[in-house]
Symmetry: C3
Subunit: 399 residues, 3 copies
């Protein structure tokens, strides 16, 4: 193929490729992979400089065609396809992207930048550690590379939290020792322990896990702070302005924030916290893996979880859970009829029987409601719900 020198020619090329009936991928990207020290074929980590998620289908076409032209038989029948790449692949893509080379800088044409860099790399070294990954269907991931692509999609914010199928990811990812960003097979450490220790070359191990850390792969927004990299797992999503303190906090994969949030507690897998909220020191938001019976917990905007509080139910906007108390699905909560009236003001759809002066609700019955202050009466130990003093901005269009 000749170099494609104009954008029009590029469009024609893409059309001609698309006419062949290639499947459009949901996501794709080229990664440098880290291989096992003992087992060369075991992929320990995939490093994506750029990922594409429901976008850039022209580049996808080019890459698919480049694979075919470089001798790879692309299998479109599965939910994903992972392939090594070679010099021919890079050459084809480079020629196809030729008209974009000059403008591929900064945020523009990042796939072109990747190919440009790979062309330069391929002049000196073999491309055996570079792989291209396509996800065609959001099925359970079947490869380390596709798990990483999905984790990148979540952590980059290109895919929404809870929107991707990660079933079986724990089975796919190998458990490795991490020395900084470098994954090391545990078995390699075992085989070499005597030599490494006697020579004084045993590596510093920062963690042992199937997942890497968020900050090993993701560059946060300029106003986001993560005071300890161990506190955020890859696959978490942090909106700009979020601060994660180092005390007792943790944000698991497939969990995180959708606005600027102060995080000093735990956001378990599947839990999501909206803007302006504050997860106090040591507060726990339970996840579907740890005590909510599969009912994922979302926390609304401007909600405050007090220090060492525990929340097992979704909360709406403008709520307060007092320091040190636990609100679980089965917790019995007392509400006075006058407070019920005030609570209804910010929860127009809320219905209840107005019989007794004090009514009891289970936590689950109050889940997702706005403007509730959960507290424990310190004179009689009763868990109560009141209308909170925090602002709730109702969407008038909805009501």
């Amino acid at each position: 193929m000749k170099k494609i020198k104009t954008v029009e020619e590029f469009k024609e090329l893409v059309s001609s490729i698309e006419a062949k009936g290639y499947k459009k991928p949901l996501g794709f990207g080229i990664a440098k992979v880290d291989r096992g020290q003992l087992n060369y074929d075991l992929i320990l980590q995939a490093n994506f400089p750029v990922i594409n998620w429901d976008e850039n289908f022209g580049s996808a076409s080019v890459f698919l065609e480049a694979l075919v032209k470089s001798g790879v038989e692309v299998d479109f029948s599965g939910s994903e396809f992972v392939s090594s790449i070679n010099k021919k692949f890079v050459k084809f893509a480079y020629k196809a992207f030729y008209s974009f080379l000059d403008s591929a800088i900064g945020d523009a044409h990042k796939n072109v930048q990747v190919i440009n860099m790979l062309k330069w790399i391929s002049e000196d070294i073999k491309l055996s550690d570079y792989k291209i990954v396509f996800i065609f269907e959001d099925d359970a991931p079947k490869s380390v590379e596709s798990v990483y692509l999905k984790l990148y999609a979540l952590s980059s914010g290109k895919a929404g939290l809870r929107s991707l199928n990660l079933n079986g990811a724990f089975g796919v990812l190998p458990n490795v020792a991490w020395s900084g960003r470098e994954p090391i097979e545990l078995e390699w450490l075992r085989v070499n322990e005597i030599e490494l220790k006697l020579l004084g070359e045993y590596p510093t191990i920062d963690s042992v896990d199937k997942f890497p850390r968020y900050l090993s792969h993701i560059i946060p927004a300029q106003n986001t702070r993560i005071l300890d990299s161990s506190k955020v797992r890859m696959g978490a999503q942090l909106a700009a302005g979020t601060t994660v303190m180092p005390g007792a906090s943790y944000i698991n994969f497939n969990a995180g924030t959708t606005g600027a949030v102060m995080v000093e507690g735990r956001i378990s897998s599947s839990a999501i916290v909206a803007k302006g909220s504050d997860v106090g020191g040591g507060a726990s938001i339970l996840g579907v893996l740890s005590g909510t019976n599969g009912n994922p917990v979302g926390i609304g905007e401007n909600t405050l979880l007090g220090a060492n509080s525990v929340t097992g139910i979704p909360l709406g906007d403008g709520c307060i859970v007092d320091a040190g108390i636990a609100i679980l699905e089965g917790t019995k909560i007392a509400v006075t009829s006058s407070q019920l009236a005030k609570i209804k003001e910010v929860n127009p759809d809320f219905t209840y029987k107005t019989s007794d002066e004090i009514q009891f609700f289970k936590g689950l019955e109050l889940s997702g409601m706005n403007g509730i202050h959960f507290r424990q009466n310190s004179t009689n130990g009763m868990i109560q719900a009141l209308r909170s003093q925090r602002e709730v901005v109702l969407n008038e269009e909805l009501h």
Copy 2:
């Protein structure tokens, strides 16, 4: 200028400089600065080998004169002054300090040691990464360098906690990625992400924050232990003998201990804990940024905060807050009249009405008092205050 060969001559030099009317600085020091990888003029971190706080005015005079002689126009009109230094500056200071060179070793004449080392460095490399910082008035800091000088003053114990004006420090400090002690501009990572990841050279990022860690700049006392460097922010102050465990602990800047304290919980910004006290696993001492309405929390001596307890009020000496309970400013606390009498024994100034068998106080009303045991009655949920079993040593001179 000739070399100053005797201490007398040095004193004469200092007098002659002081006669010029230079302002005495509150603090000063020479730092090696880390500059932005993209933006050379952006200071990311200032590393002070030595700081001076309300001391060593002779050295200050020499440094100010050295600046003037090396061609710098020193502005005494502001609250602080930051300047680059050059070979001439170092030469002047070296000659001025000449009589101290031999004895400048260990803890003696540290400013002289700095100049001696800079003289040696300046023979090979330019001094463009070295800056001198003077703080003349304790106003809101205006530069990264002066923020760092104040953080050093706090963390070295040369200035008392809560004694310095750090207003606006968050606005002055840039938010950076930390790879070990090295600060990296987030934008530099963004610009170079593709190259770094494809070449396998993406750095290990340990945190993203405006502040560095305490242990990146401060050498603790021989009997102080910090089991995880992420747990103590630069600007915290730790008295000798303090132990910071790695579970759920955190000590923010402008917070810390004034004696040997066991820390397994959170000491929020502005909170101070005195000797012999124990901040239990997961315990939270609220700070002015997180729920005490600007009323900074001090914890007295020999006080015990139980595991997962929360304290939002100042406590005196010899108190106990039981595991798992929260004592906030508004918490209603029951005290029996007999316990009130015992509590008054260790709080002679405490006045209360002796009417009912049980009286209720708000947390705020009991703040700062000695010898109180806060507990929750497990048979009826009532939060109660008793005279604690811990020793309270009253200062007899005061009463």
Copy 3:
């Protein structure tokens, strides 16, 4: 001595050595030691590639004889003996182990592998940083090397938790700064601070502690995960399948798990958790150093400690402590007579008086019992114990 070329000859050699009356050691091993940067004789850390605990007495004999033959006067009268080794020592051991050299690979003949590697090392460098350590009696350790040998015995699982005498270990170990795995004398940092900071060579300090981290010395089982190395101290023991999350967890030395356990909270020194149990986010198991009056806390199988709960008493199998509550030795706990009957079903030895509808127990009285659900009634604040819904598998042979 000639090379020992058959296993029979080796056995004869061992018998002839044992006939000399050497004491059998409880534990022994050869370590590479890290020495003080200022104080050469101060041992900062001992790195054992292999340890022997109540095993491999033939190797012990060879090593003792090799010491004697290399000119060391071995003192068998104390509880432990630490010695430097030299080329002669290695040569003797090498010849003695000669018949095993070919098969010393992988898990086989690890002491032989150590000697083989030392022979290779000794061709180029002096052996001054290698030491051999024997522990003859389980007395209070007297050297850094013997403390490390005991910590290795615990963390490798070769010795049971709580089974070893570590009295005075805190006094024996020096407090050092850790830069990755490298221990650094704090005084060395102090002496070199000016030079290191001005040259930009100040090291990254990860912690300051007497103990290293577990992952600096121990390779966990393939299915064990430790998401943050700071969370597990050397001397802890983790059974295969244990997961340690990074939020608020911590496992101290001489504490840990005896089966696959999910750890998101604190397991204090001397506390032990059995298989299938779950230490929830921020949960605290108190240790003998922190509030249990010397009564070490064991947690049985399949027991759940809720988020931010606190446990100060031992628990049996199949228990639940609800999120956010504290069960201490003195906590008064209400149990109804019908629940008492159900609790007795899984605690056949439990005796109680069946008088009132509700009886109160102190936490200590319910310690170690199976199948108990501790909760706080949210309508009246009462701490209650019920028969839990978790499975308890009673050992029928015992009852």
